[in-house]
């Protein structure tokens, strides 16, 4: 029983990270129908920037968090302005390849700037452990879960009540109509990239205490991608649900059948989902007829 609870908590916190990265995928997909394969790398950059602020510059943790989110968001904005805006109207495959190339470049640059040695992000809650009976839970894991819930609520309020949030919804539903109504679609798209990079940074900051940070942690972006598809591409709650599903299944498979099957379970779930229900758990997009 305790093991199950422990695994469940670990799975949920891992799943939250996947969900957060998936959220970034879905945001960009909804706004521009582009798939950003470099989302995992943006998370990695966010984590490394946070390390720079807290470890090298010795800033206050909370100041560092805010600045990291802003800085990563700014990187997202720059990427959109300099690169992705040129790709509007190109076939989806070309855009996908551009973001794959971008992932390579970001990973290589991160390796050059921060090196390939594992780094550690020290947080005020790093070593704290809470025990409930026989179950020991790292506070880091709880912070991941809490942070995800808070972010989801914030995003919900943002999309529901702010002008820019509603404008983003409008332009993702119908770009042309939004444009006619006077919504600055280009600026909205740029803002979406910034937002999505910011979310990736939050995912990075939350994920960092759970693991050692190397330029290669961006690869968990692929699992997050599986999460986005399992949840139903194009659905924000779906991304989180898919992330949780993958995180939990992964932990249990790993515990019962070893690391090999644990690592691949995300891909098995992805394949199964694509074969059985390609639109995902929460279907939101319909196929065009002709």
């Amino acid at each position: 029983m305790d093991t199950i609870l422990q695994l469940l908590l670990k799975g949920i916190s891992q799943g939250c990270v996947y969900g957060l990265i998936a959220l970034g995928f879905v945001l960009i997909y909804k706004a521009t129908e582009m798939i950003n394969f470099a989302q995992g790398e943006l998370m990695m950059i966010g984590a490394l920037i946070a390390v720079t602020f807290t470890e090298y510059l010795q800033w206050n943790y909370f100041v560092a968090v805010v600045l990291t989110i802003l800085a990563t968001g700014f990187i997202g904005l720059l990427l959109e302005r300099s690169l992705l805006r040129r790709m509007i109207g190109e076939p989806p495959f070309a855009v996908l390849m551009v973001t794959i190339g971008l992932g390579f470049v970001l990973r290589a640059l991160a390796g050059m700037i921060w090196g390939h040695d594992p780094q550690e992000l020290r947080t005020p809650y790093s070593d704290a452990v809470i025990s409930m009976g026989d179950v020991f839970v790292g506070v880091s894991n709880l912070v991941v879960i809490g942070g995800t819930i808070a972010l989801c609520i914030a995003l919900f309020l943002f999309f529901r009540y702010t002008r820019i949030g509603i404008a983003m919804q409008a332009s993702s539903q119908n770009q042309l109509a939004a444009y006619y109504l006077g919504i600055p679609v280009k600026r909205i798209v740029a803002f979406t990239w910034a937002l999505s990079a910011g979310i990736a940074a939050i995912a990075g900051i939350l994920f960092a205490p759970l693991t050692a940070i190397t330029p290669n942690i961006g690869f968990s972006g692929i699992k997050a991608f599986a999460a986005a598809i399992v949840g139903g591409f194009g659905s924000l709650p779906g991304a989180i649900i898919g992330g949780l599903a993958i995180g939990i299944v992964e932990q249990f498979m790993q515990y019962n059948f070893g690391k090999g099957l644990g690592d691949t379970s995300a891909y098995f779930m992805l394949l199964l989902m694509l074969l059985v229900r390609p639109s995902g758990l929460i279907a939101s997009t319909q196929k065009k007829k002709v």
Binding site: F93, L96, G101, A226, F268, L270, P278
Partner: protein, 358 residues
């Protein structure tokens, strides 16, 4: 400018458009046949590698460039081809049987993916193949009884009819023969009704269906052929590296293959050769450039991905038709010399190509 007088419809699908066209290819083949006489062993090995990449690239080009199906997991077929061949060969199968068998089995696995691909489009298919590749990689790593797992699998030296093909020259000719056969086959396939139905499916599935193309059959065949060719390349690659281990076939190789077809030029077989040339020569250029760069940059392992990723982005943004597209432009510039206009190749952009219903 050259004007080709076509006197019958068959001329439209001729392999060679005119005499001069054909003679250039004979010069190329002759040069490749004579190359081992003058070349160093190092360059011979590099060319062999180029041939193997070109075979795998032809497989992926058939799928991505001609049928419009994107696969991010082609390395899986390469790995399967390599391992199946190595295992059969180590159990005493002759080379001329085990290589085609491995290509056939890989093609058969491609059929399964092809059937599944009918349900998925575009990005979803790309991701599904990526997942497939991840799973294959793990299976190879965690099945030591058959594949040797992480400790690797030694590939026996190639030999056929009692002759050893182990020397770099002999293997050069083996791979060259395979490449020429593959290209001849693919060129012929592409000018047949089957190949043209691939292209029709790529350009518009709905209009292809309306013209009577069977989608399931076409897509499955495209996947099977593509997987088979990539498996063949994998089998040849097994002897090239001599020792198989799971890390030789990672997702990176898949991306390299995609890079090959994109940088070379999507939808052209010339592009395959240009692309193969590109991905064999760039690591060499980087190795030379390391001596000139400041040590901090030169020593970091990220130089190669950085260059590959950067070049890929530059090509997609500035020359989506790849090296072949650039070559076509240069050729037209000279053949129309003072009259060349840049706008000839102006691409039409749509505001947003959507797959959603509004």
């Amino acid at each position: 400018m050259r004007f080709v007088l076509k006197t019958n419809y068959g001329r439209d699908i001729d392999i060679f458009k005119h005499r001069a066209h054909a003679s250039w290819y004979f010069v190329l083949i002759a040069a490749l046949l004579l190359a081992p006489l003058v070349l160093d062993v190092f360059y011979e090995k590099q060319l062999t590698e180029l041939f193997i990449w070109a075979i795998a690239g032809a497989g992926l080009m058939l799928l991505t460039g001609y049928s419009g199906l994107v696969s991010l997991g082609h390395v899986a077929f390469m790995a399967l081809g390599a391992y199946i061949h190595a295992i059969l060969y180590s159990r005493g199968w002759p080379l001329f049987l085990s290589i085609p068998t491995s290509a056939l089995i890989t093609g058969g696995i491609g059929v399964l993916i092809g059937v599944a691909s009918l349900r998925m489009t575009g990005i979803y298919l790309a991701i599904a193949t990526l997942a497939f590749a991840m799973i294959v990689e793990k299976v190879i790593a965690h099945w030591p009884a058959l594949t040797g797992g992480h400790s690797g699998f030694r590939v026996d030296d190639p030999a056929m009819f009692g002759y050893s093909l182990d020397s770099s020259t002999a293997y050069y000719y083996t791979c060259l023969t395979a490449l020429v056969l593959v290209f001849f086959g693919v060129i012929n396939l592409l000018r047949s009704p089957t190949g043209r139905s691939f292209i029709a499916v790529r350009d518009s599935e709905i209009s292809a269906q309306a013209m009577g193309v069977n989608l399931l059959q076409t897509k499955t065949l495209a996947f099977a052929l593509s997987a088979g060719l990539t498996g063949l390349a994998g089998a040849l690659y097994a002897h090239r590296i001599g020792f198989l281990f799971p890390d030789a076939f990672t997702i990176m190789t898949s991306i390299m293959l995609l890079m090959l077809v994109v940088v070379g030029g999507l939808g052209s077989l010339h592009g395959v050769i240009f692309g193969a040339f590109f991905i064999t020569i760039v690591p060499q250029i980087i190795a030379i450039a390391r001596d000139w760069l400041p040590t901090g940059i030169a020593q970091s392992g990220g130089l190669e991905p950085l260059v590959f990723g950067g070049v890929l982005i530059l090509f997609l943004v500035f020359e989506p038709l790849g090296i072949y597209g650039r070559w076509v432009k240069i050729r037209l510039f000279f053949s129309q010399f003072p009259l060349y206009r840049k706008k000839t190749f102006l691409r039409q952009k749509s505001y947003l190509k959507t797959e959603r219903v509004h």
